[in-house]
Symmetry: C2
Subunit: 341 residues, 2 copies
């Protein structure tokens, strides 16, 4: 690979002039500029960005660490990040922690050793919190998204999952439900904990009592929702709830399938609210449209980039904590058909 020095020699000028030519700076005579451009072409010169990053002390890259790159759930967030860097001169590079805390730690370290100007860390695993805490001790710019880690002095973007849970209960109550149960998400994620808290708050607000059996600890897997619902149908026979709030759409989809198989009609006998507006997991599944809480993931991706840019530009500026509100999307799974709603 030809270097800037090679070009200078070939063109018979100093490195300074070549550097200026590359960077479209003034102070090069037209003749020399032409000679240099010719030399660059002849030698197939490409500037070495690593050397450039070293002297400029910036890479113009932001690193994005997700839990997985093989999960449609992240698509909107990824799009947001991609749109966020558009026309900023930055590029976003993505990698995944593959749902393993050690791997995520590794990727965060990888990036933070000067390889990028800042990091976006997506995910809400409680295991991540110590990793984040460690990173927070340094001055490296980063922003966490989704994790309600409650760490002082770091950038964060979260959805108000507690109020989302409350909204779900409010909605079910408004549709006439009184016996509302909750399937949690994976409780090792802070979002699941908050959504559960929202459920509890909502129930309390409406004067509805919650007993332990009304809360089913589930996960973010369709099969889990299916199996647990199936078991519930067996165990509770005639004592099923009239409404269920699921910590995630994917769980709801599995559970609704179990209900359908058992001949229990949704929403007539049991109303359902999910979380995430996960169109990939609901599309074409032959289940009623799922009422759900939608997170503005694309906007969050854009905002993550913006916040990070601010911190990179002004590292001593105060960190930001942004709270987005989920939006209730009402569909068939919670409708009152008999009332024509």
């Amino acid at each position: 690979m030809a270097t800037l020095y090679d070009v200078a020699r070939e063109a018979g000028v100093s490195k300074t002039l070549v550097s200026r030519t590359i960077n479209h700076q003034p102070g090069v005579s037209p003749e020399n500029r032409k000679k240099i451009e010719e030399a660059m072409r002849k030698l197939q010169y490409t500037p070495n960005q690593v050397a450039r990053s070293l002297v400029l002390q910036k890479t113009n890259i932001i690193g994005v660490v997700l839990d997985s790159l093989c999960e449609p759930y992240y698509f909107d967030f990824i799009r947001g990040v991609e749109n966020g860097v558009d026309d900023t001169g930055l590029e976003a590079l993505f990698c995944s922690g593959r749902e393993l805390p050690a791997k995520k730690d590794r990727m965060i370290n990888f990036f933070s050793q000067g390889r990028v100007d800042g990091i976006i860390i997506y995910g809400s695993a409680t295991d991540d919190i110590s990793i984040i805490r460690r990173l927070a001790k340094r001055t490296f710019p980063f922003v966490i998204v989704e994790n309600e880690a409650h760490i002082e002095g770091i950038n964060s973007i979260v959805v108000d999952n507690v109020s989302g849970g409350e909204m779900a209960v409010d909605h079910l109550v408004s549709r006439g439900c009184r016996n509302i149960w909750h399937f949690t998400g994976d409780m090792k994620k802070t979002i699941s904990q908050s959504r559960k808290q929202g459920y509890l708050n909502g129930m309390k607000k409406h004067g509805l009592t919650v007993t332990p059996k009304m809360i089913i600890e589930s996960s973010f897997e369709e099969m889990m929702g299916y199996m647990q619902m199936k078991q519930l149908i067996n165990e509770c026979a005639g004592n099923l709830p009239d409404g269920i709030f699921f910590g995630a759409d994917v769980t709801a989809v599995g559970a609704v399938r179990a209900l359908q198989e058992a001949g229990i009609r949704v929403p007539e006998q049991l109303k359902v609210v999910g979380f995430d507006n996960d169109i990939y997991c609901t599309a074409g599944k032959g289940i009623p449209g799922l009422t759900t809480l939608c997170q503005p993931l694309r906007e969050m991706g854009i905002e993550a980039v913006n916040i990070l840019r601010d911190t990179i530009q002004n590292p001593s500026a105060e960190r930001k904590n942004v709270l987005f509100s989920p939006k209730l999307i009402i569909r068939e799974s919670s409708s009152n058909r008999e009332e024509g709603i």
Copy 2:
């Protein structure tokens, strides 16, 4: 950010010893090693990998450029790449060209300016070929995947799409079809061109004539398949084919939906073969299991990493061209129910 020099000063030793300590090299007395480690901790020292990359002339990164990061189709390939770099000391960083040739060009340039040791370029757009040709003129290590670009002296990994098309026709013929039509994929992708060629080869082999109306130029969109099939049903009324080979599952899914709506039974009246084994687009769609040609995308991802590692290690070695075979997966959409197959 503290530098190696800061650590050396703090520990009262030379940079050499600090460097050796970081890299776990011999030649440091235990006392000094301890002092240095303490200083590193105290200063929260993190080695600057950009500086390291500059002097070592390698980054230990491989860049992966996809057409999109928001497309489940790539999941298996991504997994393959992730598995491929495991335990190699390399990391894979992903980005997307967002289906725009200019953007893809930009990302390839971005990577190839010394920011990574090698690039995996996925996609078969004909627009990409000039980009690749340009990159091929340089010595930068890369491997293209999927694109049958027929460029000398570069690494490539492709699936034998021609033979895939032939296999599809063979299979339909073996199931009694004689009037077999073809919905192409996006014809701006080389894979679509090859699959069409395979269809033509197969038809010829079996002595079946192909007229222009039997080939429908389609795309990789479900809606496109749906609309075109609908139109075909209107136009051809009683003259529909008895078998269709689709250049992609996603198109097939749309078309089958149109057939179902028109009361045309698959596979009884019309047998269908797709391409890609795209479980995300077929799952739970309430259509019969789709007979399809499966590409070993995960293996291809692993192989891409391996080939790239070889080229990085030995840049003067001959480039490799690897051909994977698609595998026919027989499902209900092409079954002979009356014969009990």
